[in-house]
């Protein structure tokens, strides 16, 4: 037993570094007096940033061959590696954004903010590889609890504490439902690690019209509630717009990109391992031949993207509009999960990389503008095109990319997803996806119209000056949106290389 642990540790260094970053920064924060805290926040931030960079540099040394660590608790494979790179890169960007955010600079205990970012990242890294129900639960809870704290970080702001209360109530209920599903699955298969669950499902004959089959359906739907809450799929999305609007904007961006990616990672791994049999036919849900699971996921994808896009049409707060747009994007990405072939999964992975650039860019511009004009309301964006040209061009590029128009990167992402769906004969799903992209153009176009075609509300046409740092960061996010729209070969081959999920 003890040898298993010692043999696993060398492949576990990135995670250990991340947890040490959290623990050390937290202890340092505890030992600092209340008065000095405001001045040491930046130092803690730099310490956590260094922890992130060391972690990401250690990742290439994590064993590239798919294998299991700590018994069956944790898988290390190219699939998990891909998501770890994505999550750590997002974390680094978010820490740099947070250091620039005026909203967060006002907070007293800002050092603790960075500690919790490290804790949340640690949880998300575990989510990418968890292959045991206990590990899945613990990883999801580590992420949830630290994001409850982060979303309520502006304690004096009413909307921030309201957001985190809604988040904690919804998160607690969703994880309770998921756990009940897990306990039923344990009772049916007698196992907690997903490989043995797969074996149990494949050997046990679950026939429709029998009680066991009904219990199995209920348990898997309940587990799906837990995953759906993490990826904010409709109808488990109710927390999303409130939390995204109320939380500090860098936390919103982190939830929208990294937390969603980790949720998808754990969901893909769970379904891929438990329901598929690599020996038979990839793309068929072998373990449950009597039930069309991909239809359930397809319906989930359709309602998620439709509701996200339709409700976004009448949002006036840009942060909230981006929240609904991120719900809609979860719907698009779910289309890849419907297919679950190598093609579908690699399209999802690619979409995440592109989503990283376009969504973080959009959130960054909204943050920078809010720091200057003190508002995220769409009417305050009137005339921004003349007052702040570079930033406005940036926001336009990110929003066009989010819509999925050529020649920007978002088009390539959507095109890969749609072609994977069409390949699997879900043509109706692809058509609904295209219609949804058209709807999304409508509400993004409201932002363009306000920025370029309308005069400012109070007639204030004075130019807004941004610091060079903001301009450079915006341009740094514009460039990949254009490059990946034209030259996406390496991205495709990296995504295809990363599809390998550990199977025993």
């Amino acid at each position: 037993m003890i040898e298993i642990i010692f043999n696993s540790i060398p492949s576990f260094w990135p995670e250990i570094t991340m947890s040490l970053t959290f623990v050390v920064s937290m202890i340092v924060e505890f030992s600092i007096g209340r008065k000095e805290k405001s001045s040491t926040g930046m130092t803690t931030g730099l310490f956590v940033l260094a922890g992130f960079i060391i972690t990401i540099l250690q990742l290439p040394f994590q064993n590239p061959e798919p294998r299991l660590l700590f018994g069956t608790m944790y898988s290390v494979d190219p699939f998990a590696m891909f998501f770890k790179y994505l999550i750590l890169a997002t974390g680094i960007v978010i820490i740099v954004f947070s250091m620039q955010s005026a909203e967060l600079r006002k907070q007293r205990a800002i050092g603790e903010f960075y500690s919790f970012i490290a804790a949340m990242t640690f949880g998300m890294m575990l989510m990418t590889g968890a292959s045991h129900l206990l590990m899945i639960y613990l990883a999801i809870e580590v992420v949830s609890i630290s994001s409850f704290i982060l979303s309520g970080f502006s304690k004096s702001l009413h909307r921030s504490s309201e957001a985190s209360l809604k988040y904690v109530l919804f998160g607690g209920a969703a994880s309770g439902v998921m756990l009940y599903g897990m306990s039923l699955l344990y009772g049916l298969t007698g196992a907690l690690d997903i490989f043995q669950i797969q074996a149990g499902l494949a050997s046990g004959v679950f026939v429709p019209q029998e009680a066991d089959f009904a219990v199995l359906m209920i348990s898997i739907i309940m587990i799906l509630v837990g995953f759906g809450y993490k990826i904010s799929a409709v109808p488990f999305h109710f927390w999303t717009p409130d939390v995204y609007e109320g939380a500090p904007i860098t936390v919103t961006a982190y939830l929208a990109v990294a937390s969603k990616a980790a949720g998808f990672a754990i969901m893909i791994r769970f379904f891929y391992v438990t329901f598929f049999d690599s020996m038979v036919d990839i793309g068929k849900w072998v373990s449950l031949p009597h039930f069309e699971w991909n239809i359930v996921l397809a319906v989930l994808a359709v309602i998620t993207m439709t509701l996200g896009n339709v409700v976004a049409v009448w949002q006036d707060n840009l942060k909230r509009m981006l929240a609904y747009s991120s719900i809609a994007h979860a719907g698009y990405i779910l289309m890849g999960a419907v297919v679950m072939t190598d093609l579908g999964i690699s399209a999802m992975l690619m979409y995440f990389v592109i989503y990283f650039f376009m969504n973080l860019g959009a959130f960054y511009v909204v943050m920078a503008v809010a720091d200057r004009i003190g508002s995220e309301h769409i009417d305050d964006y009137r005339g921004l095109g003349k007052r702040a040209p570079i930033v406005s061009v940036g926001l336009s590029v990110f929003l066009v990319s989010l819509t999925g128009l050529p020649p920007l990167a978002g088009f390539i992402g959507k095109w890969m997803l749609f072609s994977a769906v069409v390949e699997a004969n879900f043509i109706w799903l692809a058509i609904i996806g295209v219609i949804n992209s058209a709807i999304s153009l409508y509400y993004y176009a409201r932002v363009f119209r306000n920025m370029y075609l309308r005069e400012p509300l109070n007639g204030d046409t004075s130019p807004i000056t941004f610091s060079p740092l903001v301009i450079v960061t915006t341009i740094l996010f514009i460039v990949p949106n254009i490059i990946f729209g034209l030259y996406f070969g390496p991205l495709v081959s990296y995504a295809q290389h990363s599809v390998r999920i550990f199977l025993p």
Binding site: L133, L134, Y137, L138, E141, S144, I145, F148, I149, G152, K155, S156, L157, H158, R159, S161, E162, A163, S164, L165, K166, V168, L169, G171, G172, A173, S175, G176, V177, L179, Y180, M182, S183, L184, Y186, G187, G190, A191, L192, P241, D242, E245, G246, V311
Partner: protein
């Protein structure tokens, strides 16, 4: 020896009570209690299956669920206090500046 399905029925009743409470109650503290009830019904199911199947893994799971539930309750109550300081209420119907 009490058959396993007695425990399962009890835990299902507890779970449904918790879910109904979460959906119908308006006081944030009571909603937390209902979530705890859901988690405890999960624990009962795990222990019942564990003894039925003769497999200790389920009992190990229960310890983790209890520890995480305690952490979640600590964070949740802290958030309720932060909200109460801003708004002087724990009724979630009055917590409504964010909607649609």
């Amino acid at each position: 020896m009490i058959p396993v399905h007695y425990y399962l029925i009890l835990s299902a009743v507890m779970f449904i009570t918790g879910v109904v409470g979460v959906l119908t109650r308006r006081n944030a503290i009571i909603i937390f209690m209902c979530i705890e009830l859901m988690l405890n019904s999960v624990n009962l199911t795990f222990v019942a299956f564990s003894s039925y199947l003769g497999n200790e893994a389920g009992q190990m799971f229960v310890f983790f669920v209890m520890a995480v539930a305690a952490a979640e309750a600590a964070v949740g109550l802290a958030i309720v206090i932060a909200l109460f300081r801003n708004k002087q209420t724990v009724n979630i119907n009055e917590v409504n500046i964010l909607k649609w």
